[in-house]
C-alpha cells in the first residue's frame, strides 16, 4: 500500500469515528449543548480537557521550538502545565459551584453588571477567535503535507467535519469526540518518541531516555548534545538564560493565561460535583503531562538526530569535534525525508559556498576558516514532530498515525474554541442582553447558527491568514491573563471588589496589554506601524510583548482593588453569592437560572 493510501486510511478512519460519535451524542437541550448534560465523569472530562487544551501548537510546534531554543523554551513546558494548578486551586471548583453555563455569565452576575458581562464577552471572542485561526492553519498544513491536497481544500474538509459534530452535538458531541481525539493524538505522539528513544538511548521511556546515556557515544545524551551543537557555533542546549525577569514573566503570563482561557474553564462545568471539578483538573494534567513530558525528549533527540544526519562523523564517540564538524554530507546524498519536506518549502537549501555539501551551523558564528560562507540549511520548527517517523526510519503506518494525530490536536481545540464563541454569542449576548425572553428551542437554534457563523469566519481566516497569524498566541494569552483571570479570581476570593472596580480593572489590564503589544508588533498588527523595533534593547526593563500579560494582570488587580476601596461595597446579595460559591454544599448540576 502506498504511503498516501495509508495516510488516507488513518485520517479517514479517525474522521469516521468522530462523525459516528456526533450522531450518537446529538444535543437535545441547551444543557446538552453548553455543558454536555452536566454528567461527565472526571476522568473522561480530564481526557477531553487534554484534547481541548493541546492544540496544533502543542502537537506540531512545541517540540520544534524546544529543539532550537533548548532550556530557554522551558517556559512553554512550565507555563502551559502550571496554569492547571491555578485552575484547580483558584477557579474551577468555585465556578462549577456557581453552576452557570458560561464565563461571562459569572462575571456579569458576580459584578452585578451587564457592562462587565459584555467586556468579558469581547475579551472571550477576541482571545478565542485569534486562537482558532492558528488551529485551522495547522489543520491546513497537516492536510497539504499528508493528503496531497492543497491547504485550502484541506481546511474546508476539516471545517465540514468540525461543523458536523460540534453544531449537531454541542458540548456533548465535542466532549466525546475530544476523548477519541485525545487517544489518537497521544498514541501518535508517543509511538515515534518511544522508537527514537530506543534508537538513541536504549531506554523505551522517552522522559527517562532524556536523562540517560547516548548509546552510540556512551556519554549522557544532553552532554553529547551540548558538545555537538557548540561545535557548530550554537549556544549550549542547556545554557542558562540571561534575561531571567523576562523568563519569569513569560512563564507567569502563560500560566495565568492558561487558567483564564474560557474554552478550558467551560469544560469544568460539565462534571456533576465540585469535587469532580478538582479531580478532573488533576486527571487533565496527567493526560497533558504525558505529551508535555515526552516533548522535551523528542526535542533533544530530534535535534541530535538532525545534526548527526548532516555530520555523520559526530554520531558516535568523537575525538576531535573540530574535524568531525568539518565534514558534512553532500547535498546529493541527503536522506529522503529532507527531499520530501523540501517540496513543502519547510526545509530549504542554499549552497552558499558552492561546494555541494550541506553546512548546517549557527549563521551568526564565523567559520570562514572552514570555508563556510553562511548556514545553508533552513529547517522550520514546525516539521520536527511531523517528520519524526521519517527521520527515524519508522514504518509507513506511523506516518499515517502522525497525520491523524496532528489533525486530532487541531480539530479538538478548534471545536472547544468554537463552542466558547458560540455560547458567548447565544447565551451572553442574545439571551443575556438582546432578547432575554428567548425560548429554550430558540436559544438552541441561536447557538447552532452562531457556531456555524464562527466556523465560516474561522475557515475564511484560516485560508486568508491575516499578517499577524504568528502573533496571535501572544494576543490570546495576553488578553486571557490580563483581563479574564484576575476578574474571575477576585470575584471568588474578595467580597469587596464591586462592579466599578472589576470593570476598571479589566479595561486597564486589557488596554495596557494591547498597547504594549501593538507598540512593538504594530497597531492591530498592521506591518510597519510599530513605534519601536521589537528587540530586547527596546523593551521596557527587558520585558518582551509576549510576557506583558502578567504585568497587565497585576495592573488589573491593583486598579480593581483601588477603585473598589474608594467606592461603595457590593450589595448584600452579592456578598452572599460569593459566600455560596466558596462552599461545595448544595451544588446542583449546572443550570440556567
Amino acid at each position: 500500500m502506498s504511503q498516501f493510501a495509508i495516510n488516507v486510511l488513518f485520517v479517514g478512519g479517525s474522521f469516521a469515528i468522530y462523525i459516528g460519535i456526533a450522531i450518537w451524542a446529538k444535543a437535545g437541550s441547551t444543557k446538552d449543548f453548553y455543558v454536555a448534560g452536566g454528567g461527565v465523569h472526571p476522568i473522561t472530562n480530564g481526557m477531553a480537557i487534554g484534547a481541548d487544551w493541546m492544540s496544533a501548537a502543542s502537537f506540531i510546534s512545541m517540540a520544534g521550538i524546544i529543539a532550537s531554543a533548548g532550556y530557554g523554551a522551558s517556559t512553554f513546558l512550565m507555563g502551559w502545565t502550571g496554569g492547571y494548578v491555578l485552575l484547580a486551586l483558584l477557579l474551577a471548583p468555585y465556578l462549577r459551584k456557581f453552576g452557570k453555563f458560561t464565563v461571562p455569565e459569572f462575571i456579569g452576575d458576580r459584578f452585578y453588571s451587564k457592562s462587565a458581562r459584555m467586556v468579558a464577552v469581547v475579551c472571550l471572542i477576541i482571545a478565542s477567535l485569534t486562537y482558532v485561526i492558528g488551529q485551522m492553519a495547522g489543520a491546513g498544513v497537516a492536510f497539504s503535507r499528508f493528503l496531497e491536497v492543497d491547504a485550502t481544500t484541506g481546511l474546508i474538509i476539516a471545517a465540514i467535519v468540525v461543523f458536523f459534530y460540534s453544531v449537531l452535538g454541542g458540548m456533548k458531541g465535542i466532549t466525546y469526540t475530544q476523548v477519541a481525539q485525545y487517544i489518537v493524538l497521544i498514541i501518535a505522539y508517543t509511538i515515534p518518541a518511544v522508537f527514537i528513544s530506543l534508537q538513541l538511548t536504549d531506554n523505551p521511556i522517552p522522559p527517562l531516555g532524556l536523562f540517560s546515556d547516548h548509546s552510540a557515544s556512551g556519554e549522557p545524551l544532553l552532554a553529547k548534545l551540548n558538545e555537538v551543537v557548540t561545535a557548530l557555533g550554537f549556544n549550549e542546549y542547556t545554557a542558562m538564560v540571561d534575561n531571567k525577569l523576562n523568563m519569569v514573566l513569560f512563564t507567569l503570563s502563560l500560566m495565568i493565561g492558561t487558567a483564564g482561557l474560557p474554552h478550558v474553564i467551560m469544560r469544568f462545568f460539565t462534571v456533576p460535583k465540585v469535587a469532580d471539578a478538582r479531580w478532573s483538573a488533576g486527571w487533565a494534567l496527567v493526560f497533558i503531562g504525558l505529551l508535555y513530558l515526552t516533548a522535551p525528549a523528542v526535542a533533544s533527540m530530534a535535534r541530535l538526530n538532525l545534526v548527526t544526519t548532516i555530520y555523520p562523523d559526530m554520531a558516535a564517540q568523537v575525538e576531535n569535534y573540530e574535524d568531525a564538524a568539518a565534514n558534512p554530507i553532500a547535498y546529493a546524498d541527503r536522506p529522503d525525508w529532507i527531499r520530501t519536506w523540501e517540496e513543502t518549502g519547510l526545509i530549504t537549501f542554499d549552497d552558499k559556498n558552492n561546494d555541494g555539501n550541506i553546512q548546517l551551523y549557527n549563521g551568526a558564528a564565523d567559520f570562514s576558516d572552514r570555508g563556510w560562507q553562511g548556514n545553508e540549511l533552513e529547517v522550520s520548527n514546525d516539521i520536527l514532530v511531523l517528520a519524526n517517523p521519517e527521520i527515524a526510519n519508522l514504518p509507513g503506518w506511523v506516518v499515517g498515525l502522525i497525520a491523524a494525530g496532528g489533525l486530532a490536536a487541531a480539530l479538538s481545540t478548534a471545536a472547544g474554541l468554537l463552542l466558547a464563541i458560540s455560547s458567548a454569542i447565544s447565551h451572553d449576548l442574545i439571551k443575556g442582553a438582546i432578547n432575554p425572553r428567548i425560548t429554550e428551542r430558540g436559544e438552541l437554534r441561536a447557538a447552532r447558527i452562531s457556531m456555524s457563523v464562527a466556523i465560516v469566519v474561522a475557515t475564511y481566516l484560516g485560508v486568508n491568514p491575516p499578517g499577524f497569524a504568528a502573533q496571535v498566541v501572544a494576543l490570546a494569552f495576553g488578553i486571557a491573563a490580563a483581563s479574564l483571570f484576575p476578574a474571575l479570581m477576585m470575584g471568588i476570593f474578595s467580597k469587596r471588589i464591586n462592579n466599578k472596580g472589576a470593570i476598571a480593572g479589566m479595561l486597564s489590564g486589557l488596554i495596557f496589554t494591547l498597547v504594549y503589544i501593538f507598540v512593538y508588533k504594530g497597531w492591530f498588527f498592521i506591518p510597519d506601524t510599530n513605534n519601536l523595533p521589537d528587540t530586547e534593547a527596546n523593551w521596557v526593563m527587558g520585558i518582551s510583548p509576549l510576557s506583558i500579560g502578567s504585568v497587565g494582570a497585576i495592573l488589573n488587580f491593583a486598579v480593581a482593588y483601588m477603585v473598589s476601596s474608594v467606592t461603595e461595597e457590593p450589595p448584600q446579595e452579592i456578598q452572599d453569592l460569593v459566600e455560596s460559591v466558596r462552599y461545595p454544599k448544595g451544588a446542583g448540576v449546572a443550570i440556567d437560572h
Binding site: M78, A275, K585
Partner: protein
C-alpha cells in the same frame, strides 16, 4: 446560625491556608528551582546536566500533577470534616 457561620469561616480559612502552601511549592518548583535558583543548584548533576534543567523540563510538571491531586484529596477531607460537602 452563628455556629454555621463560624464553621464556614473556619473551613474557608483552612482552604486558604492549604492554597497558600500549595502555591508556595508551585512557585518554588517553577520560578525557584527551574529559573531563579538554578545557578545555586548547578552543583547537583543529573543525567549529564544540572538539577535546574531537570526541574525546568520535567520536575516542575511532575510536581504540578502531584500538587493538584494532593489539594483535591485534602479538600475532599475538609468538605467532610466541616460537613460542607455535597
Amino acid at each position: 446560625m452563628a455556629d454555621d457561620k463560624s464553621n464556614a469561616a473556619a473551613y474557608w480559612k483552612a482552604n486558604l491556608r492549604l492554597i497558600t502552601g500549595c502555591l508556595i511549592v508551585w512557585a518554588l518548583a517553577s520560578y525557584g528551582c527551574a529559573i531563579l535558583l538554578r545557578p545555586l543548584l548547578a552543583g547537583i548533576s543529573i543525567g549529564g546536566t544540572d538539577l535546574g534543567f531537570w526541574f525546568a523540563q520535567q520536575g516542575s510538571i511532575l510536581i504540578f500533577i502531584g500538587l493538584i491531586f494532593f489539594y483535591a484529596w485534602k479538600m475532599n477531607r475538609l468538605d467532610k470534616q466541616f460537613g460542607l460537602g455535597e
